[in-house]
């Protein structure tokens, strides 16, 4: 795609037709591979690298085949979620943090959105694992909501306005446990409603979503997510639409429930304050790649990547008076034509001679702390390179 490197946003008719033809060819091929329902299980069962992890992302590449070209929303992302821990994923909007979680759930907008490379290993608990990237839909249906569940940002749009709360919570249990009787399902639902701190559970069971406040609705969403005691809960900005006081309630609740059910949480947010209070590990993403990962302590006390440092400095903190907030100069690069050097170089104030080279490798600077920046080349050991998939070869 040489002509796409042009700076202008203009696309000629010929170019546009070429892109469309290419997209159609690639997405058809990928869809065909996926549609095979009676796939050999060997193709999608693997082994976890470390059995203490519930999910391992290994060089995941999720691309969107759009009319203006291929958008590499997630491009070689690797991190792990350990059992019973909370992992916070931080980054600006459009950095690919939500797309990573959607890839894990296979909820991408197909056929234009495709996971084209890498492995997402999901621990089944019995020594084997699924590679979610190749798992057929029939199996995914048994995993979604049952083993992995998701809490969305907007509780109002996540709930169906024409069904009663009770029905919506019942549905999950019924679907994954068809052997349970109606009474048992209702009893389970009421138990869940109580668990998420709804005092008037019998009343709420018969209510519609519009009768509840935002905080209550988010509690219902949590009840739905936890109905089958999943081993991983994905919370995609669970408190962004809520007030500070309600936010404190919901985060408190999530933390308690996680310990009760021994689940892991993948907490996606852009609020560094929320992550600090909740997470055990933090992953910082920028422009579709992980730039820094480590324990919460590593990230907050020794932020190492210039982007993380900038992010920390640009947030006003109560009790710390500064005259002017730091702001990261410039903008995120265009996702269609990513540069072949470090994506952050053009905005970086600490760049050095080495940064002129290709995208930096992942460098381990302590046992738990990995950063993708040339500044640490001499201090740590190189543990990996984020790899893109060559779309032309597909």
């Amino acid at each position: 795609m040489a002509s796409e490197k042009k700076k202008s946003t203009y696309i000629s008719g010929r170019e546009s037709r070429r892109i469309t033809r290419f997209n159609r060819r690639v997405t058809r091929k990928l869809e065909k591979e996926r549609a095979d329902a009676n796939k050999d299980p060997k193709l999608y069962t693997t082994q976890m690298k470390n059995p203490n992890n519930v999910v391992e992302f290994d060089n995941v590449c999720t691309y969107f085949f759009t009319d203006v070209g291929v958008v590499k929303a997630v491009d070689g992302v690797s991190y792990e979620i350990p059992v019973g821990k909370t992992v916070g994923v931080v980054g600006e909007s459009g950095c690919g943090k939500s797309v990573t979680s959607l890839s894990l759930m296979q909820l991408l907008q197909r056929p234009s959105g495709q996971t084209v490379g890498g492995e997402i290993r999901f621990n089944l608990g019995d020594g084997s694992a699924y590679n979610i990237v190749n798992t057929p839909n029939a199996i995914m249906e048994k995993i979604r909501g049952n083993r992995i569940s998701m809490i969305f940002q907007e509780p109002m749009t996540a709930l169906n306005p024409v069904f009663r709360i009770g029905q919506q919570v019942d549905e999950v249990t019924q679907l994954h446990h068809p052997e349970m009787s109606k009474e048992d399902v209702k009893a389970r639902t009421l138990q869940m409603l109580e668990l998420v701190g709804i005092a008037n559970k019998e009343g709420v069971y018969d209510m519609y979503p519009h009768e509840l406040s935002g905080g209550m609705r988010q509690r219902i969403c949590i009840a739905i997510a936890l109905a089958c005691s999943p081993s991983l809960i994905i919370a995609d900005e669970p408190t962004t639409a809520l007030d500070v006081t309600i936010q404190a309630q919901i985060l408190d609740l999530l933390q308690n429930l996680k310990d009760k059910l021994n689940s892991s949480i993948m907490l996606i947010t852009h609020d560094l304050g929320v992550v600090a209070g909740m997470a055990d590990y933090v992953v910082v993403m920028y422009a579709g790649r992980v730039v820094e990962k480590g324990t919460t302590d590593d990230i907050y006390h020794h932020p190492s990547h210039p982007y993380t440092i900038g992010l920390m400095k640009s947030k006003p903190v109560v009790g710390k008076k500064v005259e002017e907030l730091y702001n990261i100069p410039g903008n995120v690069p265009n996702p269609v034509e990513m540069p072949n050097y470090c994506y952050f170089r053009d905005r970086c104030e600490m760049q050095c001679e080495r940064c002129k080279g290709e995208y930096p490798p992942e460098i381990r600077i302590s046992d738990t702390h990995i950063v993708t920046c040339y500044r640490y080349m001499d201090e740590g050991e190189v543990v990996g390179h984020p790899k893109s998939v060559d779309v032309e070869a597909l």
Binding site: S93, I246, Q249, A276, G277, K315, P316, E324, N327
Partner: protein
């Protein structure tokens, strides 16, 4: 309250004075359109803003802070009360006079995606009101728009582009340029950064601060993000269910919040430091309906310090320390206590009479 009502001495120091502002939205019955109740969105709010300063207005959603901001600009009519901009009661003005005053007070809205017309190019969005109000002669119009855009960090070639070509942060700059183009004295910023990313937030906040220093602007900064409010404001007012519950200088209110609601609100701020173990006051339940607020102190249903008095008598707006106003029975002086007790007695006897009937 007494000093607050004395406008003559303070006219020069304070740009905006709001006295006992009330805004109720009537609830109509479906058929006869009779008024069957009121949503008391703003229920008696008073404050003053000094020239060139920023007042932060914080509270949960639904507490009436946005309604307050819009009513101050007379974007909707008041129910009662008084708003004075530079000594002029803006609700006493007729249409033409109000139109003349409009350029002096502007607003920046929360959502930069819906507050810009998708059909107008940026130059027209920024310049429309300038032309309408004859701010500059027609031959200087183009230069003026370029200059305003430049001040807000927008290059001149953006003039012919349309809003969909811009990111959230750029759009918010356009909104600010649009407000600034009329050279206002007073700008209401209604959650200007809550729809933006953290790094973009910092850019916009810095821009607002710089413009304030350069042009001597006065802001009413409405937000629910307390850390942003602390950064930008000189004074802070906390609202709960249509009432102001506490008002003081920023340092004072953050160092020593008096009202139990303010304390709970501030303790809920997430702090980006994993070692910070603050004592969180988790409020039970959610904000009651403003159509049917609780009697007495509106916060008593969720308050941990609730006493018998709180259930019957609404607290008075008192100056507890110098410049630190608070409405809470915990800080009642002797007079207020007596009045509150009287109110409780009356309410009780009324209740008893009601039962007897």
């Amino acid at each position: 309250m007494q000093e607050m009502n004395n406008p003559t001495a303070l006219r020069d120091e304070y740009l905006l004075e709001v006295n006992n502002l009330v805004k109720w939205f009537p609830i109509k019955s479906s058929f006869f359109k009779r008024t069957i109740g009121n949503v008391k969105a703003v229920d008696g709010v008073s404050f003053k803003i000094r020239r060139g300063e920023t007042m932060g207005l914080v509270g949960e959603s639904g507490c009436g802070k946005s309604t307050c901001g819009r009513t101050i600009l007379r974007l909707q009519e008041k129910t009662s009360g008084e708003v004075r901009l530079d000594g002029q009661d803006i609700f006493a003005l007729n249409k033409d006079q109000l139109r003349k005053l409009r350029p002096r007070m502007q607003i920046v809205f929360q959502d930069p995606y819906s507050s810009l017309s998708p059909r107008l190019p940026i130059g027209e969005i920024v310049g429309e009101a300038v032309r309408e109000h004859d701010i500059v002669p027609p031959n200087e119009f183009d230069d003026y728009i370029t200059r305003v855009m430049d001040v807000c960090g927008l290059p001149p070639y953006y003039k012919d582009r349309y809003p969909h070509e811009f990111s959230g942060g750029q759009r918010q700059r356009i909104c600010i340029a649009r407000a600034l183009a009329l050279s206002p004295d007073f700008i209401v910023c209604d959650e200007p950064v809550s729809a933006l990313d953290v790094s973009i937030q910092a850019q916009i906040i810095n821009l607002l601060k710089r413009l304030q220093a350069d042009f001597g602007l006065t802001y009413l900064f409405i937000s629910h993000d307390l850390s942003v409010v602390e950064h930008i404001s000189d004074t802070v007012g906390v609202m709960y269910l249509g009432n102001m519950v506490e008002y003081a200088a920023t340092e004072k209110i953050f160092a020593n919040p008096l009202n139990p609601y303010t304390q709970a609100l501030f303790s809920a701020i997430p702090i980006p430091d994993p070692d910070a173990h603050i004592h969180r006051i988790i409020l039970e339940g959610s904000i009651p309906s403003p159509a049917n607020p609780p009697s007495g102190c509106k916060f008593h249903t969720r308050c941990s310090h609730c006493t018998e008095v709180c259930k019957y008598a609404p607290p008075e707006w008192l100056e507890v320390e110098e410049g630190h106003w608070c409405a809470c029975h915990l800080y009642d002086d002797a007079d207020a206590k007596a009045r509150a007790d009287e109110a409780v007695r009356k309410a009780r006897s009324g209740e008893a009479a009601g039962k007897a009937v």
